[in-house]
């Protein structure tokens, strides 16, 4: 029996990660690769199970709380960056004056690695959640503002002329022409920003916050609980993937008209 093309595709996609997991399990179990510092996949699954469902204790039953803490910081930082970055980017893209005033500052600040803002986040916000939110917001801000700028800068002359000949006001042009035309680029920026947000929340929780997945990950490392470290890595990876999927669903819903991204 030959499998249908669909099954074949599914197999092709599932087989490699499965093979990697099996090889990893085999190497650790048979040869003790990693001198006991590398947990086998089965150990990670057990650690994750205890972390999620166990009685409240260290690395036990605290998974959901930590995940919620981290996810809320990601969301708060991301939306703060979106609310400030999207309008600012559109302003820079549409106004020569705003571009001359603000673009050089952004271009100078942009190459600074976001993590190097951690000292200032701590000085201004102290050890705690708001420092993490601030760091996420700083990191997410740049891809959003830069992509919004790019989107707003390249509005077709034909679209602007069409709107003007139909007597649209400046505000109507902004809302009904510039914003939708900039949206595909803006959402590309939002996707990049969200990926960065998960990375930055973990970094900030490692050094600046006493809660969240990143905190537990770093704490587990100090206690040599590498199974928990890997479980935390897998958790962040999974939820980073899920939030990217959410943005893609938004894109599919609102950009169905955009032939390049709507499909």
């Amino acid at each position: 029996m030959t499998p249908s093309p669909r099954t074949a595709v599914l197999l092709r996609r599932i087989a490699p990660p499965l093979a990697v997991l099996l090889l990893w399990q085999y190497l650790v179990q048979q040869f003790g690769i990693g001198d006991g510092f590398v947990p086998a996949p089965t150990e990670v699954v057990l650690a994750l199970e205890t972390w999620i469902f166990g009685e409240p204790s260290r690395y036990s039953g605290t998974w959901l709380t930590s995940l919620t803490d981290s996810a809320l910081r990601v969301a708060a930082g991301f939306f703060a960056a979106l609310i400030i970055g999207a309008p600012l980017g559109i302003l820079i893209g549409r106004s020569k004056v705003a571009s001359d005033l603000l673009d050089p500052i952004l271009q100078l600040l942009r190459p600074i690695p976001t993590a190097s803002w951690i000292p200032f986040c701590l000085i201004f916000f102290g050890i705690g959640s708001s420092a993490a939110v601030a760091l996420v917001a700083v990191g997410a801000f740049f891809p959003i503002v830069l992509n919004a700028t790019a989107g707003a800068r390249h509005i077709s002359t034909l679209h602007l002329r069409s709107a003007r000949m139909l007597d649209a006001t400046r505000l109507q042009i902004l809302w009904r022409v510039v914003l939708p035309a900039a949206l595909p680029s803006l959402l590309v920026g939002a996707r990049i920003a969200l990926g960065l947000a998960w990375m930055l929340v973990v970094i900030s929780e490692m050094v600046a916050v006493k809660s969240g997945i990143g905190y537990e990950l770093w704490d587990a490392y100090y206690y040599n609980r590498m199974d928990v470290v890997v479980a935390a890595m897998a958790t962040v990876g999974l939820f980073g993937y899920l939030s990217d999927l959410a943005v893609r669903l938004v894109v599919r819903k609102y950009l169905f008209w955009h032939v390049d991204t709507g499909k």
């Binding site: 077709s156 003007r164 000949m165 139909l166 007597d167 109507q172 009904r176 022409v177 169905f256 008209w257």
Partner: protein, 261 residues
């Protein structure tokens, strides 16, 4: 219902354009390019005028000035005796490129766009959108998006979004150039129907001699840049016109001669 349609049709009170001693100079790195030099031109109310001319002869500059997108270097362009100072609902443009449609708006939202700042009630607007879509034959495509339409249909949307505003003048810049020959003929027929129903003043720029003679009351053949009128060809034939008619061919050959063929 019938009254509303009539009302919307009579609302297209035709208007004329008067161009006097018009000059347009573009400045670029290599120096000045004179696109139009001392052009005089009348477009009569309700007339269908076609302009034929070689590429880069300044036809599009003229259209952009009449649309209010560009200002003349000197001379005047009047619409209804008033200088054209910028784009407005009075004169609408159908661009060659259907990318001028907004990909994020449905067909009916395109047509409703020009009614945003009118004092009409929501119901009146709806009725107006409906009757305009019926006029161009897109009543069954109101809820489609541009990417779902053929090139010909997209140009009908471009026409409808101008007509809905009771525009007095329709400026068309090679509107059917990108269409295949069959679609092009269907669109020309449709455009004549629309013009006959609305008696809107039309200025249509084209490279096709057949198209100009088929559509217009009067065709102007432009010279090479800077644009001036090489010949004026009145077309006094009833619609629907037959492209193999002797009179049609006679007019065609006049145009071709002046285009240098």
């Amino acid at each position: 219902m019938v009254n509303t349609v009539n009302a919307s049709n009579t609302a297209h009170a035709a208007a004329g354009i008067v161009v006097r001693n018009l000059r347009k100079v573009y400045r670029d790195a290599t120096g000045d390019v004179v696109a139009i030099d001392g052009l005089d031109l009348n477009i009569h109310a309700g007339e269908f005028l076609c302009i034929l001319g070689p590429s880069g002869c300044g036809k599009s500059s003229l259209l952009n000035i009449l649309a209010g997108f560009e200002a003349p270097t000197s001379g005047s362009a009047l619409l209804n005796d008033k200088p054209i100072t910028g784009p407005s609902r009075l004169q609408g443009v159908v661009f060659q490129d259907t990318a001028a449609l907004f990909p994020w708006l449905s067909v009916q939202d395109h047509v409703a766009f020009g009614l945003k700042n009118t004092p009409l009630s929501a119901n009146e607007k709806k009725e107006k959108v409906r009757s305009t879509l019926a006029l161009v034959g897109l009543q069954d495509f109101a809820e489609k998006w541009p990417h779902q339409l053929s090139g010909g249909m997209r140009q009908l949307v471009s026409i409808a979004r101008v007509l809905v505003t009771d525009s007095r003048v329709l400026l068309m810049d090679e509107p059917f150039a990108a269409l295949d020959a069959m679609t092009r003929q269907r669109m020309q027929k449709k455009l004549i129907e629309i013009w006959q129903a609305t008696r809107i003043t039309v200025m249509l720029i084209t490279h096709s001699v057949d198209e100009a003679i088929y559509l217009s009351n009067r065709t102007l053949v432009f010279t090479k840049r800077p644009a001036s009128i090489a010949v004026e060809i009145p077309v006094d034939m009833a619609h629907p016109r037959v492209v193999t008619d002797p009179e049609f061919n006679r007019l065609k050959s006049i145009a071709l001669t002046h285009l240098g063929f």
